[in-house]
Symmetry: D2
């Protein structure tokens, strides 16, 4: 890119940052960000959306068949430390763990190894830095080999319970999946919401389906880390104005890739670092989308409390929509 | 113990197994067990218990300060693969993962290593074997180094949403904590429920607090794997009669230790393997108990969907009570 | 393959097994195999081959740039638990590990995660089974989730010090590398040895270079686990007759792939399981080959004692040729 | 300690640093330190010490029975990914790793997880920092979550082959083991060497036995990280004058603990960071000591090339004395 472009990109990014920043809004010590917008009324309201009594899982399996290419991030791996075969062949008596003879009793046990960002997960507010700082202006120096001393993912635990709204973009476009590089704009989101007579409310979780997980499931290719459909950077002001608390998509990185300006993941810079919105990635929205298409109801109780991994840059989550 | 005792123990155990077995009740292929008792009506009912709009986390932190002694099971460990220090000192440009120069952008990333049974967790129906078989009569041979081919923890994902009822035993006894070796009986549970005008219903989750986590928090000693208060084996028939779907306690192993008969973890053998009841361990019930004591309400929406760790003998969970 | 072929293959395999078996030769309890052939005289002789005083490493780096495709086996990964950045930014005072203020002192620390068979390594005699048995007729049931109770890699520690002889096949053929599927025969090995006026002696280590590591280094493709040049199955009787103690190659699996008969890795079945010969894989022989080509000396002191990983199916090793 | 003591300690430490520094001695780019003192003549000389033809392992087993307390550093753990039980029960056909039906063939496989400093190991020159710098004046900022970009342990691979000399202090004192807090001085080392008519030579490895591993083996207590016998700080000038290339002990940290002055591990600061001497820790010297006591020969070929763990702060090693 040439110098003039760089200048335009930089100006735009700074403009969005200025416009969308929530730093200080909930106090200088806040580590929760836009989840502050979810209070008792929002939780009660969410519970009121449970009509059919049907929980739908939004998390895809944590195992070796996931999308990660290995190297910097690999797929979840389960190491078994004792098995049913140990039991039936009598090699588990006495039991592992220091227990005595088992007399008919046996057990299996295992150890899970996974990058916190390898599958369905929330980014912590400590996951992304902009010029040395993270959410609420805290220095990136608080994130060391000991993990995040502030803004870690454990702050989200117990706090992600609210109304969720599904925006199914490929259904609206009548395609199976958006293509890599295709952005999703504010106008399109508003059109889709309008088509279902929905408006978003402060504290909502916005679940945006691109169809890209469905398109790549089991043949992942460069799904994780590669070109991808996703939210446009230019949605940042709208997300901020609407006081959206959380956004989740069925892609690896929420926003469209390649990025629309000469910065890496600029929507993360604006909306996660500065607006403090919770970002959920690789949510499996396909079963939910089918259910919504069937009953025409695109709002639900959304519960997606991440594991309290102390100091984590993110954490896996068993996310549910309950309709 | 002498031969006569062994015979009595064996007879009793087989009696309980015969009396409490649900094998085949939901079909020969069932991998869900007593969670079958939770249907749409139970989910709607649970949502109806959300009155204050207050989610309470029941999961304690996954980190090195947990109760595990190391060896067969150690505490969760977070390995950082890139940090805020890498970012602010300029060693993160270009970014890890194959991305180009960052221009102000930085990030942290990490990898989680944890035994699935090291903290707050559900046992899978593949976790416990009795004489070569697990829930629904399936052979233990299905649990190999590749994990559980049947009855794995992923079957529970999306299914643990129901009414929860807290039974706070130390509050009823007016002690801080039950002591290791002290059993909790059916009569005491019924007394406590009665004192709050509660009855349990089919498909409920029963959360039983012993106070033992509060007593040991941060000075764990042999909390994990050692002597412990817990449910009496003799509660098994009552759990079965009441069609309880799930039981969770604030101890490492649900049942009282040392065990009451000459078998290892006999309540697991009867109620998990044969009744198919979901067993939740090391749930942190202290904040919930304080809230219940304050408002006098001991029932709530209980949401505790474990991570879908394919083939896992268990999985960590961000468990919530929502009042 | 048709039934007649199967019969021929089976007959041939059994013929080689009968001919080459050393089971019982060093006692029923032996866990060392052909390394029994290395005694004090062989060690002294090896030391006598140190003429230039030049150690040459035969191990390639253990890191993420290795040949493993991920999944069942991934490349070695180093997790840093504290770094120089922690030190210089003052976040390491007090020190990790429970130590007090450091006053100028700092340190780095890390954790290594690696499949034992991911890089330069020895197979243990517990690594390969044939019809339920491993070296010396021991049952495969001794290898459980607790590791190998017999025949583990720790038996090799301290025992692999002997004369090494390099057989540089591509140099002899005047090619850069043998191609996948190309076998190396006894006649060719004898020709190459003869060209250097060498004979092999009981207790020797035979290092056979195919050039395939050089051809694939850094562009590994399916180097690990894929088609490969390597030793012909039909070398098994010669290896046994010559009382070779150890064989190592610059390929992932010693023998030619695809295999020459309708059995998986038949040379492992004959020479490792039955002759008890130590198998070394992914040895980096390129620098050694260049040195041998320069001075014309193809024998040397060979020292390749694996890490004593208790019960390991193999272990990494810092292997040296000293000339 | 009071201010005057601090001043004395600081002065002494700086005096030793000034006196013992080898920074720049082998060029500004050097990453090898005192191992530069080992050249072809030293390697040949070492081989000449092989008289009996007897290799003796100096590495203790890498497994869960090691001395680490868990937490920051835990003991080596082996995760089996497929076992002999999988083979004999038929669950390994087809084979893991993508291979087809096995027809009688089976195998075991495993993954090793270990802190690089958890057992017998060499410290890398990147392991210790002093006021922001490491060996040869390089900034600690080169050691990031990506590992050590300079001075990593891979520099030692292939270079630790030299004459070794055993100094058996408890044998000389006629005790089983030195006690925690007892320092070993230059005079005592010279006495012991003199008693065996030995002098050290430039490039030698000095193996100093305290007996503390023998005293704690299997009942480790605070062996790793706790009070310990070890070398006195005041040996630093002698080590430097004698041009010792490497020092190894049977303790976790080479030097006496608690430290003799108000700095943490001051001998590391002087002799590792500034003299560039290779530090080997938790070497098992008991079998070697018994052999030396028997034949009266305290010098030998010493071979202890660490695994080339790229960027490692240290690495495990299968160390040998060959007599």
């Amino acid at each position: 890119m040439n110098a003039a472009d760089v200048d335009d990109d930089t100006r735009l990014l700074h403009h969005y940052i200025d416009k969308c920043s929530n730093w200080g809004r909930w106090g200088d010590d806040d580590q929760l960000g836009a989840l502050n917008l979810v209070g008792p009324e929002e939780v009660r309201c969410a519970a009121g959306l449970v009509r059919k009594g049907k929980p739908i899982s939004l998390t895809f399996p944590y195992d070796q068949r996931g999308p990660q290419p290995g190297g910097f991030r690999s797929n979840p791996q389960l190491f078994t430390t004792t098995t049913g075969l140990d039991h039936i062949t009598g090699t588990q008596d006495p039991l592992p763990g220091g227990f005595g003879p088992a007399r008919g009793f046996g057990f299996s046990d295992d150890v899970l190894l996974m990058p916190t960002q390898s599958g369905t997960q929330w980014d912590a507010l400590s996951h992304i830095f902009w010029e040395g700082r993270m959410w609420n202006g805290r220095s990136a120096r608080h994130v060391t080999t000991g993990g995040a001393a502030v803004n870690g993912i454990e702050n989200y635990t117990g706090r992600i319970v609210m109304r969720g709204v599904l925006v199914d973009v490929p259904a609206h476009r009548r395609v199976d999946s958006l293509q890599p590089g295709e952005p999703i704009t504010r106008d399109e989101v508003e059109d889709i919401l309008g088509a279902h007579d929905l408006i978003v409310r402060p504290g909502d979780a916005l679940l945006v389906r691109t169809g890209f997980m469905a398109a790549r499931r089991g043949r992942w290719g460069d799904y994780a880390g590669g070109p991808s459909p996703g939210l446009s950077l230019h949605m940042a002001p709208w997300l901020h104005e609407q006081d959206i608390a959380a956004v989740a998509t069925d892609t690896w990185g929420i926003e469209v890739r390649p990025n629309e300006i000469g910065y890496f993941q600029p929507l993360h810079i604006v909306s996660l670092v500065h607006s403090g919105i919770a970002f959920g990635e690789m949510f499996d929205l396909d079963v939910l989308a089918a259910d919504c298409a069937e009953d025409g109801v695109y709002e639900f109780m959304f519960i997606a409390s991440p594991l309290p991994v102390t100091g984590g840059s993110g954490a896996p989550v068993s996310a549910l929509a309950i309709k």
